[in-house]
Symmetry: C2
Subunit: 352 residues, 2 copies
């Protein structure tokens, strides 16, 4: 670590930074289930004002082994973006499949006001978004969920559905039994009944909510058509880039499909398997009441979640508010701020 001493940066030049260590402290300071409940409320509040956001599909840079994406949005007062990668092969190399960081800036000046780790925060907001979708779409009184794919996201999904939707049992399945054992051990003291299963078929027995979150970059069939019974709600969140899906097309034809932002989901979501005009409902319209969500006990509802910039915006704004007074951030000398804004050169020369 090199100490900063050349010049004393002005207050505006300093950008609060929430490191991974401080994000973990902040989550424990507030309480994990409380964070998940709060984030669900924040995301829901922003979905209610959906038309007030600038929206664009994320900007993806694909390679053979993964993708790097930028996800910007703005509500006209605050601008936010997230950097996030997705590299399914990383786990085999001892690395995270998904890492992320994000930034908020003041629209009126363009100056950054928060830099934050978002690997943890993305896991939290993804779980909160699934809980929000299930809250509005799952059958009333749902208590049992199946969690297919027991990787880094799985525990957060289970806890968010417990905290927000009142789930009492989670049934686990992963092609790798070690992942299931890890998830079960992590959730042992969560208050949930945890049932490890040896097949996906067994995991979905009795479940009113099925969440799929697997990571292979391919067209996979994690759920086949016969596995999804009447009345079930599915959160399909693992299919999130071109060429990466989890559900058999028959499920998509039977289900009512709810999405975040259609121009992005049609490229990245489960519905990339369907014709470009396959009917979908925008989730924000269910939340505002403009469109019905679940309309019958036999209906299969599917949240084809790919992750949208507004969810990250909500999460970053939550962190920015929650960290006030905690000291759980550093300040980075990230923005040059000379006394005379036209004299950048003079600032450089005076630092010599």
């Amino acid at each position: 670590m090199t100490k900063i001493a050349v010049t004393e940066p002005s207050r505006l030049a300093l950008v609060p930074f929430v490191s991974v260590a401080n994000m973990m402290r902040l989550v424990h300071h507030i309480g994990l289930e409380r964070v998940l409940t709060d984030l669900t409320a924040e995301i829901e509040a922003d979905f209610r004002r959906w038309p007030s956001f600038d929206k664009t599909p994320r900007v993806a840079s694909h390679s053979d082994v993964g993708v790097i994406e930028l996800m910007p949005t703005s509500d006209g007062e605050t601008y936010g973006f997230k950097y996030v990668n997705g590299h399914p092969k990383n786990a085999r190399e001892g690395l995270q499949t998904v890492t992320a960081f994000g930034l908020l800036a003041d629209v009126s000046t363009g100056y950054p006001v928060l830099l934050s780790e978002m690997t943890l925060l993305t896991a939290l907001r993804t779980a909160a978004t699934s809980a929000m979708a299930a809250k509005h779409l799952a059958p009333k009184g749902a208590q049992v969920m199946a969690m297919i794919g027991n990787g880094a996201q799985s525990e957060f999904q289970a806890l968010a559905l417990k905290a927000v939707c009142g789930i009492t049992e989670v049934r686990l399945y992963d092609i790798d039994p070690a992942a299931t054992a890890k998830c079960a051990a992590n959730l042992a003291k969560s208050g949930l009944k945890v049932t490890p299963c040896t097949t996906a078929q067994k995991a979905i027995e009795g479940a009113q909510i099925i969440t799929t979150c697997t990571a292979d970059k391919q067209y996979a069939t994690i759920l086949s058509d016969n596995m999804v019974g009447a009345g079930v709600h599915v959160n399909a969140i693992g299919g999130d880039c071109p060429g990466k899906t989890e559900l058999a097309p028959g499920i998509l034809r039977r289900a009512d499909i709810f999405v975040e932002y259609p121009p992005q989901t049609r490229v990245e979501g489960e519905i990339q398997q369907m014709p470009a005009d396959h009917p979908v409902t925008e989730l924000w319209q269910v939340i505002t009441g403009a469109t019905p969500g679940r309309t019958g006990a036999a209906q299969v509802t599917l949240f084809d979640g790919v992750g949208f910039a507004i969810e990250d915006f909500s999460a970053l704004r939550y962190v920015r508010a929650a960290m006030q007074g905690t000291g759980l951030f550093e300040e980075l000398d990230m923005v040059a701020d000379p006394d005379d804004p036209r004299d950048l050169y003079g600032m450089l020369m005076r630092a010599r």
Copy 2:
């Protein structure tokens, strides 16, 4: 500043960060003119391999008072992006018109490998890009440049053209005489002959190279048609977003126009005033020799520079290499990196 102590982040979780203070130290460590020469060479090397880059117009979020942009690119091995704002009214509020930071990441893992301030670095690479364009397009033996607009970018432009193109005199004009006085004072010991002028007309007298860099977000006419004589090279770099231009259309009709990336320049550059099929030449093709640049002594050449992601990529890679062994960076705990990549939750819980 909160100290990081909860967990010891692994090496991969730490991202080198070059602060503003360290960027200033690094520039002085190397020497400013040397940095400008080096950057010109780095950018030129990347322009020579232009087809090997992923290219996309920058992603802009416009408001009434400014713009916030993300500028990504990748050469298949390294990914880079810059965050940059442009707020012409900021200077009146004591803030920078342009602030920026950037990031490099490893395409094969998606992990960030460098975070850097780019307010200073953008000023340096913008000047280096102008010098590169002038090196290939200006009349041979050009010694006099006019600098119209004497704001934060002006000194860097003058020094880059001195270091790279052998300019010996800079003639200054700004609508605000205080800006001209600041620029003249800053360049007093630069080795350049510095001539402050009271009109743009006077500034361009005898100049073989004219650089315009003004900041108003409007269709302005900094140079009128009669001011640009035969044989001159113009770097027009202030017109860089929709609705912001500096040159009279007559100049564009008379000049041979060279641009960075046409899909971006047609929206943001001087040529937004012209029909969508107005002929332009891509600068990289002049640099590789595929297309002629200057073909005659009477020809007016115009570099309609708006700034492109590859220039930032080149600059960030330069900083990453130049900082090795200097200690002029910090390390940020920015990427969560649990021992078991599928056990993000376990990492969080062990931090409690």
